[in-house]
């Protein structure tokens, strides 16, 4: 397995330089949920949903409109508390109970989400959008921002080169100085994904990343996501209606049916 991933990593020449082979292989990530149930006003949306996803896997989450896919993402990203069930994030042997954490803490622990309506910061540039997601920035503390200026500047330089590397990988480096509200839907999604990557997320929950994209843009984004999952050992749970485009790169397929998740393992997966 290790040699396979290393071979993939060698082929993925445009992965940012800061993601060394050792670093990307080390993380052992697992997102696990058991018996998740939630009801809104008497309507049972999730009913004993189970999910298991490990690093390097891409899982498609499908189901008709309104069946509860986004609700599941809201639960897994800490925005909603389920009525019953457990959900945990394991990272290098450390287990975190998702249901006890806030979304910002989960993002800092390595679990972040892409919103269906993208939600870029409209008055900030593309680069600032990505920089805003930099994890553990010491300058977010105003006292340190004023009195540890040297350290803050040094860290900002590192964040900046990392952010530019992600934007470059997603083909958006030339728009780094554009305003967040001057991008097409496809470009906005790429920036939003770069922003997720900047958080250092090991588990990415993507809500309809291909919606609104033309065929070629969708194919390119799928290829990029596949390369990321393989090369950097990230786990991805993707809600998507464009099954044809996304299924070839998926390891797993979850179907949300009457509140329960049906799991299927897919055999024929593209590798980069």
């Amino acid at each position: 397995m290790m040699t396979q991933i290393c071979a993939v990593l060698e082929r993925a020449s445009d992965i940012p330089a800061t993601q060394s082979c050792q670093e990307t292989l080390l993380p052992r990530v697992r997102l696990k949920a058991e018996g998740l149930s939630i009801a809104f006003g008497g309507q049972q949306v999730l009913c004993g949903a189970n999910l298991d996803l490990t690093g390097g896997q891409i899982a498609l989450l499908r189901g008709p409109n309104g069946c509860g896919k986004t609700t599941l993402l809201n639960v897994l990203s800490g925005f909603l508390k389920p009525d019953t069930g457990t959900a945990s994030l394991e990272f290098n042997g450390t287990r975190v109970d998702i249901l006890n954490e806030t979304p910002d803490r989960l993002a800092r622990l390595g679990l972040a989400r892409l919103w269906q309506d993208i939600r870029l910061f409209s008055t900030m540039t593309v680069l600032e959008n990505v920089l805003a997601a930099s994890p553990h920035a010491i300058g977010i503390n105003p006292a340190l921002a004023l009195f540890a200026l040297g350290k803050v500047k040094q860290q900002e330089r590192e964040f900046r080169s990392q952010a530019l590397a992600w934007l470059d990988m997603l083909g958006m480096a030339d728009r780094a100085d554009s305003s967040g509200d001057q991008l097409s839907v496809g470009q906005s999604k790429r920036v939003a994904i770069a922003r997720l990557l900047q958080t250092g997320s090991k588990v990415m929950l993507l809500d309809e990343p291909l919606a609104g994209l033309d065929h070629d843009s969708a194919a390119k984004l799928v290829e990029d996501l596949n390369r990321l999952a393989n090369a950097t050992h990230r786990a991805m749970l993707i809600v998507e209606h464009n099954h044809d485009a996304i299924t070839p790169v998926c390891d797993l397929r979850y179907t949300l049916n009457e509140g329960a998740l049906i799991r299927e393992e897919l055999e024929l997966k593209w590798v980069c």
Partner: protein
Amino acid sequence: MNYLYHLIIYFEIYAIVAMSLNLLIGYGGLLQVAHAAYYGIGAYTAALLWTKLGWGFFPGLAVGAFAAGVLSLLVSLPAWRFKGDYFVMISIAVQTLIYATLYNWTDLTNGPFGISGIARPVMAGYSFVTTGSITVLYGVLATGLGMVMALLKWSPFGRALQAMRDDELAAYSIGIPVNWLKLQAFALASAMVGIAGGLYASYVSYIDPTSFSLDESILMLSMVVIGGTGNVRGPLTGAAVLILLPEALRFLQLPDAVAANVRLLAYGLLLILMMHLRPQGLAGTYRYQ
């Protein structure tokens, strides 16, 4: 010449006020309407320490700022749950609460009679008695605080505030601790306006609760809206315009009873015109929505 110094001193004090409010409104998108109350807490705390306990100028000023910073929890904690119009209502309630306390806690604040005999600043044995010397001292302090604001704007703290202003949910989901950020922003802005309150008390030598009412908060808000938010020069422009406007009206030589109303009319008209014609303010970068 003294008249000119007087105007400059008022501009310096209100420049600090407007810059601190800009941290909340312009960078954080938090529409604070209780700023005059924190201005009053800074002024009263410093004035009481100076007049009753004989404290020095800077220690009194610092404790005034600290008190305003701590009491900012009254608005920052509700800001965790209440947003938009609901938060504005909360901040108006806090403004009224603090004003009523200053007005009615007569044992401490002397109620409507206020505190008089507040000394002018003294530093290292030098007494800033003349308006010229106060202009210089307050100018140095306002410039220093302006530099602090500029540093914060370009720091990750400023960036996180702007992200929260643009989309709080998105900011929360990428790891920005929005509630903690609100606490810090309110504490910083309130401490800063607390310093301005202390400077005001020391300059005018007499304070009473009417200087810290809801009307004053709306004047501060007008400075930021008219001047513009999202950068440092916007609130400075707003402070200058709203300090000079009443002075310009003075030359019309209207009767006192009419002049106050004309001033309010002019503020209202200016706000409506700005909202229609230039929502980002005279020198601002952010269009408040």
